[in-house]
């Protein structure tokens, strides 16, 4: 099976029903994407597929063959992703950091779809869990990004 991850082509051997997360982490060794709950509940495993956020722990790898996958490793190659990371640094969002790759992916997907999201949009899109409780910092960073003049 051929996968397109971070603009590179990979040939993977996993069975078609293997969750994408385990292909990325175990077979391809990219460990920035985290395992949290395995049930699409926490968001730690989020990646972008064709610009949309997907929970890789519940995504059968065969369903994303041939589509464009972006993981945290390459998020700064994306213009929106780069701005998100900058805002994260500015607001010093992470504490332990385990959930943060998923948080950054979720924020990037949101802002790629709508440059000026409403509060409902933010609540629906930023549903990732954070054990350290960095929600206030995340909220401040996303609000900053949503209000940026240059954003389109």
């Amino acid at each position: 099976m051929k996968l397109q991850i971070n603009n590179k082509a990979y040939d993977v051997e996993a069975d078609g029903d293997t969750p994408l997360l385990w292909v990325i982490r175990d077979e391809l060794g990219m460990t920035g994407t985290k395992y949290g709950c395995g049930l699409a509940q926490c968001g730690a495993c989020s990646v972008l597929v064709d610009g949309m956020v997907m929970r890789s722990c519940v995504t059968p790898v065969e369903s994303v063959a041939g589509r464009s996958i972006t993981t945290i490793e390459a998020i700064e190659e994306d213009e929106v992703g780069k701005r998100v990371v900058e805002a994260w640094v500015k607001h010093q969002v992470p504490q332990c950091g385990y959930c943060q790759s998923g948080q950054v992916i979720a924020a990037t997907a949101l802002l790629k779809q709508t440059a000026h999201p409403t509060d409902e949009d933010v609540m629906a899109a930023m549903a990732n869990l954070c054990r350290c409780g960095t929600y206030n910092a995340i909220s401040a960073a996303v609000r900053d990004l949503a209000e940026e003049e240059g954003a389109q």
Partner: protein, 449 residues
């Protein structure tokens, strides 16, 4: 007056004696004069084990903690709980003392060795159709292939006089067509084999056929169009297995039915609710030939378009409500995006055969919303195919979403994408939440509604 009494008394006495005879009599078995039990061949044992798989005996006659077939599973009825019995060959607490004829009467007639009548929680109206060969092999398996386990049977919690068993004899006479399955002329071998498994050992109708006031299945074979036409049981909606386009198998091919029973999933659906047990313990162990036969038979049952309603077709316009900027406008849309869409898709169409589509699913089209609510509150059971647990499971949302949030998101799902199941109220959710609370002591198994 006295004269009348003299005439009436003997009549009453005779009638009473007749009733007493009828309700306690031991029905005849073709094995009454069978030779005593001999050690069966390996082939017979394997055959018997296979029949036990077809009949899914283990699902009810075991608990997760018990030895296999040692009984103990609690089944709540509106009158009180009853408990499945020990059917291991333990001589004191199990069925070790049963002769083949005793065993036959229990399985096909619902009568115990001491003459007591079984509650029809034991699907003997279906098992009545088992062939003599299958019963003989099943007996051999239970006597020689199952480990004896000492476990006392637990008395039912049903109070006197409702716990008297003899009136069940009348129930059986009225609702149990005794008689081995007879091959239907004009149908091929595959069809007849499928009909035999579905109606007999598979007892599919126990869940999928609607029940009448006396909790009897309204039909036991394809002679009635109510047979396998879908029913609500145990807090789940068991879909129609007939050709109904919306709530049945109308859109499924024989190959897809085969795939579903063999692997637990296909492009249309994934097993959940009570069917997860039936898959984990029974259908996946059936031979390919038998599964094909079942699929072939089921596809011969016509749907009922009048009851089924306008045929479902996918309507993409619901996706507009899920776009950023619009999420606040439709109740449930925000919850869908945050909680459901990652698995079931931003378009409600799931992910291939791994995660089921909500658009066009039987649960989303069924007028009774009980399956939609139950699976949202309590999640789905793990599917173990070929010894391997699957990677994709519905988590329970009982502790994450309020009654109103669940009602809103299910209303969105059941009225979106062309679905016609209809809205769900917070009250519907609350009722099922209370009934299925794992912290509650009253289990809802077998609660017929």
């Amino acid at each position: 007056m006295r004269k009348l009494l003299f005439i009436l008394l003997p009549v009453i006495a005779i009638a009473g004696a007749g009733v007493a005879w009828f309700v306690t009599r031991m029905p005849a078995s073709p094995f009454d004069d069978a030779a005593p039990d001999e050690t069966p061949s390996a082939e017979v044992l394997a055959h018997g084990e296979y029949v036990a798989r077809l009949a899914d005996c283990v699902a009810c006659h075991s608990t997760p903690e018990s030895a296999p077939f040692a009984g103990g599973l609690e089944m709540a009825t509106p009158l009180g709980s009853i408990y499945a019995t020990n059917i291991t060959p333990d001589p004191e607490t199990g069925i070790g003392g049963y002769s083949l004829a005793d065993f036959d009467r229990a399985v096909r007639k619902g009568v115990g060795r001491d003459g007591h009548r079984f509650y029809p929680a034991m699907p003997y109206p279906s098992y009545a159709k088992l062939t003599d060969d299958d019963v003989r092999a099943l007996y051999a398996y239970f006597m020689h292939g199952v480990e004896p386990a000492r476990a006392e049977n637990r008395k039912s919690d049903i109070p006197w006089p409702l716990n008297l068993r003899w009136p069940i004899a009348f129930w059986s006479a009225a609702f149990s067509q005794s008689g081995v399955y007879e091959e239907k002329a004009g149908q091929d071998e595959l069809w007849n084999r499928g009909a035999y498994i579905v109606q007999g050992p598979g007892h599919c109708g126990s869940c999928h056929t609607p029940r009448g006031l006396a909790i009897q299945e309204k039909a036991l074979d394809e002679g009635s169009n109510l047979y396998l036409s879908g029913a609500v049981l145990d807090g789940w909606f068991a879909p129609s297995l007939r050709g109904d386009h919306n709530i049945g198998l109308g859109r499924w091919s024989e190959e897809e039915i085969f795939e579903f029973l063999k692997t637990g999933r296909n492009e249309h659906a994934v097993v959940f609710g009570s069917m997860a047990d039936a898959f984990n313990n029974s259908t996946q162990f059936m031979t390919d030939e038998d599964l094909k036969a079942i699929a072939h038979y089921l596809k011969s049952l016509p749907g009922n378009p009048e009851k089924d309603g306008a045929p479902w077709a996918y309507d993409p316009s619901s996706n507009e409500a899920l776009a950023f900027g619009k999420l606040g406008e439709t109740p449930g849309a925000q919850t869908y995006v945050a909680k459901c869409g990652f698995c079931h898709g931003a378009d409600g169409r799931g992910q291939g055969r791994w995660i089921p589509s909500l658009a066009g699913s039987a649960s989303s089209l069924a007028p009774d919303s009980v399956s939609s609510i139950n699976v949202t509150l309590n999640g789905s059971a793990r599917i173990v195919a070929d010894g391997v647990p699957d990677s994709y499971r519905m988590p329970p949302f009982r502790n994450q979403l309020s009654d109103q949030e669940i009602a809103d998101v299910l209303s969105f799902i059941r009225t979106g994408w062309g679905n016609s199941g209809g809205a769900v109220s917070a009250d519907d959710v609350k009722k099922l939440r209370d009934r299925t609370d794992p912290a509650r002591s009253e289990v809802i198994v077998l609660q017929m509604r």
